[in-house]
Symmetry: C2
Subunit: 316 residues, 2 copies
Amino acid sequence: MCVLGLGLIGGSVLRASIAAGRTAWGYNRSAGAVEDARADGYDADTDLEAVLRRAQRSGALIVVAVPVPALDAVLGAVATHAPDCALTDVVSVKRAVLDAVRGHGLGARFVGGHPMAGTSQSGWAAGDVALFRDAVWVVGTDDGVDPVVWGQVAALAVDCGSVVVPAAADEHDAAAARISHLPHLLAEALATVAAAGGDLALGLAAGSFRDGTRVAGTAPELVRAMCEANSGELIVALDEALQLLTDARDALSDSGSTETLVTAGHAARLRYENLDRWEITDVAVGEDGWVERMRDAGRRGGALRARARLASAGTR
Amino acid sequence: MCVLGLGLIGGSVLRASIAAGRTAWGYNRSAGAVEDARADGYDADTDLEAVLRRAQRSGALIVVAVPVPALDAVLGAVATHAPDCALTDVVSVKRAVLDAVRGHGLGARFVGGHPMAGTSQSGWAAGDVALFRDAVWVVGTDDGVDPVVWGQVAALAVDCGSVVVPAAADEHDAAAARISHLPHLLAEALATVAAAGGDLALGLAAGSFRDGTRVAGTAPELVRAMCEANSGELIVALDEALQLLTDARDALSDSGSTETLVTAGHAARLRYENLDRWEITDVAVGEDGWVERMRDAGRRGGALRARARLASAGTR
């Protein structure tokens, strides 16, 4: 297994893969991260071509873990030096990655992925072998997906301690806009409005502000990369939030009430807290219609945790 | 000391006051909370008149800890049965309380307060003796405030483990709208938009959503009570947030960039994380001009932690 990019997510994938008993090595552009990874006992290199040739020779699964702006350069190198490898990614948007992968002629052996985990920190040092434990790891389930690669990617997620939720790229992106990208923009706006209140306001800030703005501490370039790569879906979610808040503002001004928004928000939070994640047991990877059936199960809250169900039906 | 209302905040004040060696008893309307408080070894009663007569007899400091909608009834009882007691409150808005107190003729012996602490839970059982430890406790510093009562209220805050930030009612409310009430409305909106994405979206939700919506788990009546009692200031803060988000939406749509909002939000969060709270050492309570000088220090991030500086200059 070969991990391209050793930041928070890629570095954690490398650590978790080794901990799961896999053979894995990594590439990072900056020498500092590679030195740190080596000092921690991991196999890492700044030579992308050498890393990819090794992947091609050994038939490794390649995990792309670079930010969206660096995607094109990395995929170009994969197409040149390791075109036959199975390929996945851990980037926070799926449509943009899928299009880029197809643009480089790498679509046939690609299955996208997105572990729904992170912190507001970044870089190799922020990585954590346990980052993905009990997290959701979306595995791309688009039409025409290769069931063998799909099983390999899902097995990686399970080995890292995650549960697998199958979803198509566009469905993932629409959901991620609501639960990941919108929270970042709201946090940025909240922090900005509070700071406009000066040191008195910031000095009074307690739990609601601290939690509501935590992700505004994330490096701006990372927030921008994920939000801007999902702008179409993010605008849909942002427009819904703007409508709710504008309606609440008008109701507060006209009748002094926040009942509509507060009632809906509380019910939504309770629905989240009580969400029931169930195991998908009735779809075999690779069987007729499995892609559509997996996606449908994912839409209804289904997930896969059992490694035995991840292998393609044709290879068992 | 007499605490009126034994919910999360009032119940925690009672616990922390006893732990600090004070004599304190409480009132609550519902018998259930009173029974629970008694079972935990505290002195509590459902008889408001008896509780207040005891306060009047013993010259106790009365702490009003009921939600805004219950304020009028409780203050009416105070005016009837304990008109000579020093009076404070721990309600999350200060202008509405100040006006209500003055409306009942209780302004001369009143100094408002607001401990900036809480959880999304409520009720006696949610209380915690350590809830106010290292929290900020705003002590109302409006023109004409009685320095002796001010010192008593500040000493209560310090005894509960908090640092005292002096602020006028209107300045408190403007700040609280930005760092407490706006976060609640944004959390409600975020939860609602996510739930509109169905079980797939809610199932993918991780840290950014969980933290960003935590306070949407608060009982809706409590969120409404504090937001609606501060509607004027909240509309100002909400309008600023709407403008920032609308501008971000337009920039994302027009140029694909979120740079302006993300850069500002990140800088604001760093300013919060690096905020320097300094000790006010050059203002003596009760000296000429102390009210304006305390407020000015509070605006610039100053706070009081040393009990020796809280007594009125005239009583030392």
